[in-house]
Symmetry: C2
Subunit: 494 residues, 2 copies
């Protein structure tokens, strides 16, 4: 953690000279930013009176406002409350090449709660862990995160609040809560030190800046932004080496591949067996889902599987048990421009349903460790890191009470071939098959390894994988209905 530097006050003349140079450099920086593959988050925090507002004003005057977004976080709206905690922060994120100035941030609420409530103080390390994970995820993807703590002594704070109160133009800005916080200054400072210590991590360091001299404060923050941007730019240029598909694919955790291969695919179900079972499980699933939604829980289904494994058919049987007004099916295809420039999880966060809804993903965030791994759409360190990121992503969903059900539909290589040929031969099925499907088929061995790693590394207690033998469509469809009913019932009992 960089220490606060205390020096003699900055003269107006020196300030003006340095600001002049800084402004030109910042504008140049922003011109260059349009082509960088990362975004910048500058978080400002500190006690009342430390001048977050004025600092923000200086920064926005120096920078081109067209490349900037400024955030404060008011108490969550009802839409925000009906989503996992981090959803509101995800939806605020600026896109690559832009700067987000956070006058409030994920720290605001944590600090406010901790000031108010002893229990929240005891839970601070939990909150800190959540923040660490979020910031690590962003930093790992190349985001430049600058966290500035504006330091102000108790005495200086008292003088500032008094001065603001005395001026009729600004008196409205000083609230009773501000004075209360002034009285408990020491306790708040201690809590703030603690959260800074807990969240001072590589890629998301705190810089403590003395806020007493306003000119120096603004200048130091501006210069920090500039310096750290240049560092990050160099780092990004180094990383920006060409990606390509791996030549050899080796399993990271062979147990997953063994589990996949051990799945018995010869299970079948007669036409009559199917008809009778279907009615039973559709009814049961309908009741389980209705109960979950009424309790304000959401359900997220994830369908992954081989091409022609029957994901579409399974989804149709599943939706026939649901009220069309309560679910949405999200088909995941290649990302669009906007999505390409964002974190790979961003487009999925956008689709996470509000409380009391069902979302069915036809392919999902697992593309990161399947197609993106094998086709070289991301670097090795990126897909390697993704396993943990995906687990933590789903953990956030289930922490919010969302029931996450993941299905891998497994067909044998032979059965897949039979279905491909059938599609070729049937006029109204031909659109379902293209050259890419044949290409992927030829890479079955590599894909099996990637699927195995996925099964082994993302099979968590809160969001386990369901492997469905799908050589028999009837069997697979019933299996999905049955396991979904049971899992939802079990989740409601917990």
């Amino acid at each position: 953690m960089a220490k606060a530097r205390r020096k003699q006050r900055l003269s107006k003349r020196e300030y003006q000279a340095r600001v002049q140079a800084l402004r030109e450099n910042l504008l140049q920086m922003q011109v260059g930013m349009k082509n960088v593959p990362f975004k910048v988050l500058l978080l400002l925090a500190g006690p009342e009176g430390a001048g977050r507002g004025n600092l923000l004003h200086a920064l926005t005057a120096w920078l081109d406002p067209r490349g900037l977004e400024t955030f404060t976080f008011l108490p969550p709206t009802d839409e925000e409350r009906e989503h996992p905690h981090q959803w509101r922060f995800w939806r605020s994120l600026p896109s690559a090449g832009r700067i987000g100035l956070y006058a409030g941030s994920w720290y605001t609420e944590a600090l406010r709660e901790a000031a108010r409530d002893k229990r929240a103080r005891d839970q601070l390390h939990h909150e800190a862990e959540r923040i660490r994970e979020f910031e690590k995820l962003l930093a790992d993807s190349g985001t430049l995160i600058l966290k500035v703590w504006l330091q102000l002594s108790r005495e200086a704070q008292g003088r500032r609040l008094q001065a603001l109160s005395n001026d009729p133009e600004t008196a409205w800005r000083v609230t009773d809560e501000d004075w209360h916080h002034h009285r408990i200054y020491d306790r708040l400072a201690k809590t703030a030190r603690r959260i800074r210590k807990l969240t001072d991590c590589p890629g998301a360091r705190w810089t403590v800046i003395d806020a007493e001299d306003e000119r120096r404060r603004d200048l130091l923050v501006g210069e920090l932004l500039l310096a750290r941007f240049k560092q990050q730019q160099k780092k990004a240029a180094r990383l920006n080496r060409r990606m390509g598909p791996p030549r050899v694919v080796r399993p990271l955790r062979p147990s997953g591949l063994r589990r996949l291969r051990a799945l018995p695919l010869d299970q079948d179900l007669s036409e009559e067996g199917y008809e009778s079972q279907r009615e039973k499980w559709l009814g049961r699933l309908n009741r389980a889902v209705r109960e979950a939604l009424e309790a304000g829980r959401s359900i997220v289904f994830v369908f992954e599987g081989w091409d022609a494994a029957g994901k579409g058919g399974a989804i149709r049987r599943l939706t026939s048990a649901l009220d069309p007004r309560e679910y949405g099916v999200i088909s995941v295809a290649k990302p669009n421009d906007e999505e390409k420039h964002a974190h790979y999880l961003w487009r999925f966060w956008r689709q996470i349903p509000r409380d009391g809804r069902v979302a069915i993903f036809d392919r999902s965030w697992y593309g990161r460790v399947l197609v993106e791994r094998l086709e070289g759409f991301c670097r090795e360190d990126e897909w390697m890191r993704a396993f943990g990121e995906l687990n933590r992503f789903e953990q956030q969903l289930t922490d919010h009470g969302i029931i996450v059900l993941k299905y891998w539909l497994h067909v044998s290589h032979d059965e897949q071939l039979r279905r491909f040929r059938e599609r070729e031969a049937t006029a109204h099925k031909r659109h379902k098959l293209n050259a890419e499907d044949w290409r992927n088929r030829r890479k079955r061995r590599a894909y099996e390894i990637a699927v195995g790693d996925m099964l082994a590394l993302t099979d968590t207690e809160n969001a386990p994988w369901n492997l469905v033998p799908a050589d028999s469509k009837r069997f697979a469809r019933i299996e999905v209905l049955r396991s979904a009913s049971r899992k939802i019932e079990a989740a409601l009992e917990d």
Copy 2:
């Protein structure tokens, strides 16, 4: 308005045969849809017991759920209430090539209100007008809108509600309100007839379908969807002729061009005059904005003008009067993939601020009648229609209480040349100039005509254009601050 057809009940056998054919055709339709440039909205309305839920179920079972979105509208969330009325409907719209099934729609609330409240019934024609405009806008852009009214007699409704109440599985679905609506059946039916009549327009016709025979009801709606889709597909193919830039650009309304040319550009302001005026107007603007936001009003600034007219500089001076936490600057560039497939206004609706915020658009929806008109990015009928659409769009903003301030920054051809040359000669300004700017400059005459038409045809009372002589940057910047302050003050007095 197509009349309800009453026939003898459909036999189960006939039903099954027709459903079989229908399903195949619907799935084929959806395969073809992926490549059509339009979306489909199917609205279902009708009295309780008419079976909207069951019909929806049938439709979603027949169609591929991956190309579908289903909507109901619950009472608006707080985020929705803090936006213009139509915002929630805009954000629901599916993208081109997809089907939106509306179990609830913009009619739901209008009908519910009218059932409850005599005043709402008297205002029904206002509500109907709003709906007509919205549907016309969508239909004009090629959206297929199907509106189905499920007809059910009072007696049949009574029987249905009773049957539902008697079954313990469905009794929860029948509310006291349903029975109340049954008692006032005749009044509701009259209101419904009235709103149907008021909103039965080309491109958004009502079809009344007898809902007593459930099989026939579902089948007729499915067949209607299929038939109308095919019609629309043919129509779209006819329209899909190549677009190109117009060879000659003639003014639609020469008064705008005259107004543009009459603007005196020789106004200037000395350095000292600028300094003193700036402080005065920044302070006044700051107070006016603060007052507006505290009153829950939003402010939308629109900046249009020639290349190098000084939009960026004017925006920076303007933002220096604002609290960075309360405004956002939206730079409008070429649309991304997602935006390209949506209605041209959709991406602006997404950016309309919540109550109590400032949004500054650096270029805007007026691109439709400027660059898109002149470069042939849309058809002539499209940009011709846009003038009225833009007016109605802004009307919706101002109806919600948003203050809309539009600026055209005007520089002479000579001054523009001087600035282009200066940009070329100055290292840190060179990025601001590209080949396209020179190309646009050569088309000055055509652009003047388009600007003139824009000024003449979108200069409305609620959102008038402010023409700013901008050959002097100092003069222009003060002019923006001055007029913004005064207009906001005036808006607050109204």
